[in-house]
Amino acid sequence: MSLGAQHHARAEPLVSIDELTYRYPAATTPALDAVSLAVNAGEFVVVAGASGSGKSTLLRAVSGLVPHFYGGALSGHVSVAGNDTRAHGPGDLAREVGTLFQDPETQIVMGTVRAELAFAVENRGWRPAAVARAVEEVALALAVDGLLDRPTAELSGGELQRVALGATLAGRPAVACLDEPTSQLDPVAGDELIGLLRRLNEDQDLTVILAEHRLERCLAAADRVIGMVGGRIEFDGPSLGFLEWALRSAPYLVTPGARMLSRVGLDPQPGVKAARAALRAARLLPDLARTPPPDAESESGPTRALPQRRWKRAKQPQALTFDRVWNELRDGPVALRGLSLSIAPGERVALMGRNGAGKSTLLRHAAGLMKPTRGQVEASGRVALLLQNPTDYLVRDRVAEEAPAAALERFGVAALADRHPRDLSGGEKQRLALAIVLGDGREEAGGAGASAGGSGLQDPAVLCLDEPTRGMDRAAKEDLVAILRTVAGAVIVATHDPELAAAFADRVILLADGAVIADGTTAQVLCGGAYFATETARILGGAGGALLPEAGAALLRRERVSADVGVTVRR
């Protein structure tokens, strides 16, 4: 019998939080405010909320990191499997609680996958035979058995996160606390991870507490959702009720599918399957024969034919051109394979693909950080690049010293001029880093940059952003999209987030194994797949090229009118 099953048998909450209020050291407001919660064994709980709402702190309280590791002031009680976290630190609680953070790189402490999986159980003093068995079982459960003797330094992001999850679960904890584990994963790996958690929850009675921003990915798997606002639990109930509550009280937490359904007067549903069922029941599911996805209009499939066509057609001046660019790493794989494409001035491009597909490498070539081993990259002016971690740009003591005043004003961080850059929130750091890379445009004098946003600043010919929305909530993403719309030059965003691509881009390039496999309008590319597609497109099967809830709802209203007309005619 697993630990979770034992707690079931006792019929006590596995995790019990009673009037918990917690304030981080030097913070003026509490991160958690009078939180009470009981989680039973075997539950799959999703914790939803904006950045700073207290999701991560709640998980840290369950794992004992709060207050033992972070310090601060705590009142109230947290009990995990009967252990009061005031008396038991994270080391003791590690027997009951497995914790997984966002960044897999900082969680992997050993040199090989086998040693990493064994680490937690070795810490408990298990016998070598028991350690070997635990490693073998968790490796099989998570399908990392083929990686056991691989050095952890050579793993991809998705593999690393899977191994980190394995290390979390190897000791068969009763509860797994996972803090945005999919934020650095591509859609394929992210969906796989959620599916895997659901399977472990069902097969092994593992209790899961999962904090996530991308709710469309995990609500369908959840038994229960906790909605947090300002450190307080404002909602606690099933997914369906959560979406109804979010529509009323926290619109930024509503999933795209739920938003679309609510716009046509249907109850919001979690997940693609439930949403399609609701549409089918209301006889609103679009007829794909009448409203086909854009990709199906051509027999040859335009998304496959487009790259070459675009490349041959690019006679007019381009902002950025890749001409048969190869990047073959010494002692390593081929990162780019004869890649040819051109980006027009002012074009908005989303670059998508799995982890390791070559997105970051392409952007680094564009910005001149890497040189092609073969082929040529040409830009009509300066190429600005915002790398994945905005903190890497912040080296000075005051925000005001990092970028020109006009740039700070433009990106809405002028009011923070006297703060230390590293003390800013994630979204604020992102905006400050954008102000830094776009600069004051002095280098653009006489160049290709254009004045933007009425600020008088000269933008670079091309602005590239590498995974700018990692760990961002929906509101911060919308802010970023609004900012990017003010940039005058071409913008290329490498992203795993189809919703961001749909909201921002007019062209999507899909990479795989260092080559372009699809290049077309946003609707053509994002309506044509299962993973690299928005939730709206997945629900509607790509019908009519609708990607966002508003467009999907408009399509459904037309469907309703057509159906009504059809019924009238038949009568």
């Binding site: 080391g91 609680v97 070598p128 910005a367 600005a384 912040l394 080296v395 280098e443």
Partner: protein, 288 residues
């Protein structure tokens, strides 16, 4: 520079044997003072890196080790007032005062530099060819925490190298004047502290703070490579001790240079090289 399993006899050996082999060479480099023997040891490390398939990675360490050796030689020549054979008179230099470079001080500096370079190269070879996870398992039963701290410190090196590369790339993306060196150092230090905090949190939730050693279990049987490198380690120590007892590798620089480089010294150097490198000849079962 980090460990990666490769197809070599040294990688195939267990951490205990590989560690003993490295330790024996390091010990010999520390106690021996003959330039012939030290040169032989440096050659052994370079050949071993080639046989272990890590020569490319070791080249950077070779460059650093050469600079270190040169620096030690120059500094010793300039600051040491001993030795009778003056080869260069600098006269009265600022800070250093009256400076005469002697042959003895220069040679002594060169020998010290060679020793330091050999140890640096040996350290690099150890990092590249000895599995840190196995080292942790080896020392766990005696000092779990210390062994773990050492292993994690080793593991942090590539992480921090990646971080510093990222920071450098980000600074290359900044338009206008680059930030000052001091600012970059401070930013890097902050980043290191952030990283350390993240790793510490990960260790806490894996039960490191309450870790306890495992009860004894079945040990891994010794492979042919374990036996080969353990025997080589014993051989190196034996030759070194025998040479010391026989006084075959005596070297003194002051007041007058005495560098024995006869048959005995060459024989000791040759024997050390032969014994140290012999285990690499066995290629059976070395597959990664």
């Amino acid at each position: 520079m980090s460990y990666r399993r490769r197809s070599s006899a040294l990688h195939a050996a267990g951490a205990g044997a590989a560690l003993a082999w490295c330790a024996a060479l390091a010990l010999t480099a520390i106690v021996e003072s003959s330039p012939v023997v030290l040169g032989a040891l440096a050659l052994v490390v370079l050949c071993a890196s080639a046989f272990a398939g890590v020569w490319r990675e070791l080249r950077r360490a070779l460059w650093l080790a050469s600079l270190l050796a040169l620096a030690i030689c120059v500094v010793n020549a300039l600051v040491t007032r001993e030795g009778l054979t003056v080869i260069w008179r600098f006269g009265n230099l600022p800070i250093l005062g009256q400076t005469n470079v002697t042959l003895e001080a220069t040679v002594y500096g060169a020998v010290s530099g060679l020793r330091a370079a050999t140890l640096v190269l040996l350290g690099a070879l150890y990092s590249l060819a000895v599995d840190p996870d196995q080292v942790l398992m080896l020392f766990r039963r005696w000092s779990f925490r210390s062994a773990l701290s050492a292993t994690i410190a080793t593991r942090m090196v590539p992480v921090l190298i990646r971080d510093s590369k990222r920071l450098a790339d980000a600074q290359r993306c900044r338009p206008g004047a680059a930030p000052g060196r001091l600012q970059l150092i401070r930013a890097t230090t902050s980043g290191v502290l952030d990283r350390a905090l993240d790793v510490a949190a990960a260790l806490e939730v894996r039960g490191y703070a309450t870790a306890r050693p495992a009860p004894g279990g079945a040990r891994r049987p010794m492979s042919r490579h374990d036996i080969g490198f353990a025997a080589a380690a014993a051989g190196v120590v034996s030759i070194s001790v025998a040479a010391r007892i026989a006084g075959w590798s005596a070297f003194s620089a002051y007041p007058v240079l005495r560098v024995p480089a006869g048959v005995h010294e060459i024989a000791v150097g040759g024997a050390l090289a032969l014994v140290s490198l012999a285990p690499f000849a066995d290629r059976r079962g070395v597959g990664a």
